[in-house]
Amino acid sequence: MKIGLEIHVQLPTKTKLFCSCSTEAEKPNSAICPTCLGFPGSKPSLNKNALEYAIKISKMMNCQIADRTWFSRKTYFYPDLAKNFQITQYESPIGKDGHVVVDDKKIRIRRVHIEEDPAKMLHDKYKGQDFSLIDYNRSGIPLVEIVTEPDISSPKEARNFLKNLKLILDYVDVNIEKDGSIRTDANISVDEERVEIKNINGLKNVERALEFEYKRQSKLLKFNMKIVMETRHFDENTGATIESRSKEAEAEYGYIFEPDLPVLRLNEFKLETPETPEQKLKRLIDKFKISEEQIKDVRVIIYHSKRASENFESWGGECMEYGIKVDVVWFKNNLLPLSRVVTGTPTILKKLEDGEISDFTAKKMFKNLIETGKIGEFKEIEKDDSKLLDIVDDFFKENMNAIEDAKQNPKALNFIIGRIMKKTQGKYKSKKVYEIVKNKIDESL
């Protein structure tokens, strides 16, 4: 099975690709101007930020960046196309011949280029609507198109590829949560003939569409029926791919150079190569002297998101300042789930490491830090255990059945420990409390 993907990603620029209209608009046809509406006499003007995004994405995917690139006109007639041609890149994409590695497999990237998004069309906003309604707010929004070679060999692999792509995009600050911000055309051939599924919205649907199509093609082959080379579209509601009503498959776009735009000499473009997840991983392992066993945990953090890896790096730096070990697992369990940076945790961790506070106290202080932003008072650990023995004795005197319950049910044991921890206000390490309570239970046979 061979799968190739053509992915269109909307870039999070403030303005459109060829005009200064905003990319955020609520009311239909409110962020429009003569250029994105294709009015006679209007001219395009290239958004530098969009170009920068495209170059960064190309570099992240290990593409060769073109020395010289230009834009092309792709001409075809459709109501969502303001000029009845789309400005795209044909002969000279910004990036080409790249690759990404997904689960140790190399997926080749044929090309990365930029183009403008067409308008949005509504076909059934009103009952019995027998015309189209067009909203040009979307017309002209910058898209990056990423085309893979047909190196993907299963719908699951496609999903993993897209997960990886999502991370790469995150690492260049391109977020694809918004509906419609990522659309894919998927080409899949189980045997010889290739079927194209056009315009699949979002990432999850790509795997769904491919799964369905794989099953469909396999079934046809099983019954010795012909697979027709065709274009289909994906129905989100039914999860099925459906034959496209013939949109006159004349792929005759008559590409010419776009004469209203400049030629771009990209070797003059000074742009930092953004750090890839793998590069960041290697660098942080080295920087924080991460042990062998903790590498897989760092990988989880790095591959979670750019934000998480940046939080980890700043937190790790803090730990190093305090001279405490960078405990990756602690970060993963406590700070990774947070959506914001929390500074100050290493002071707590240092006290814990030095045995000055109990883990219970540490947890409380940490919770307080997250909620109030302040560290608060350190409740020092009680060094003398004799008092604890008394407290435990008292507890069992008040709760006669507790010992029996604990013997039967390990959960009850945890409950007891929790109660005593609370009562002692974390003055004792939970480990110590466990020791003493367990002894007490074992003793009373």
Binding site: C21, S22, N29, N49, S132, I134, Y136, L264
Partner: protein, 87 residues
């Protein structure tokens, strides 16, 4: 359908037989002259007559001040622009 007829259709133009015959003759005449371009030695392509390179615009929003004027040029419904149906 020959290539000229295919081209006419591609341009979204309709012509009757007489018009097609006439335009075929005209185009063939003209292309005869154009075909002399093949005699020319290969050279780099000049996209513009003067070099036009690396011109960009900063990513700053500028609202068009006459959006209503744009929409008043055509048929609209609830601020959507009306167009022909697409099956």
């Amino acid at each position: 359908m020959d290539i000229i007829e295919k081209t006419i259709k591609l341009c979204r133009l309709e012509m009757n037989q007489d018009e097609i015959e006439k335009i075929k003759k005209d185009v063939e005449n003209i292309l005869d002259v154009f075909s002399t371009l093949s005699d020319l030695q290969e050279d780099e392509m000049a996209f513009h007559s003067v070099p036009i390179e690396n011109i960009y615009r900063n990513d700053e929003v500028k609202k068009f001040e006459n959006v209503d004027e744009l929409l008043s040029q055509t048929k609209t419904l609830d601020n959507y622009i009306k167009g022909p149906k697409v099956l």
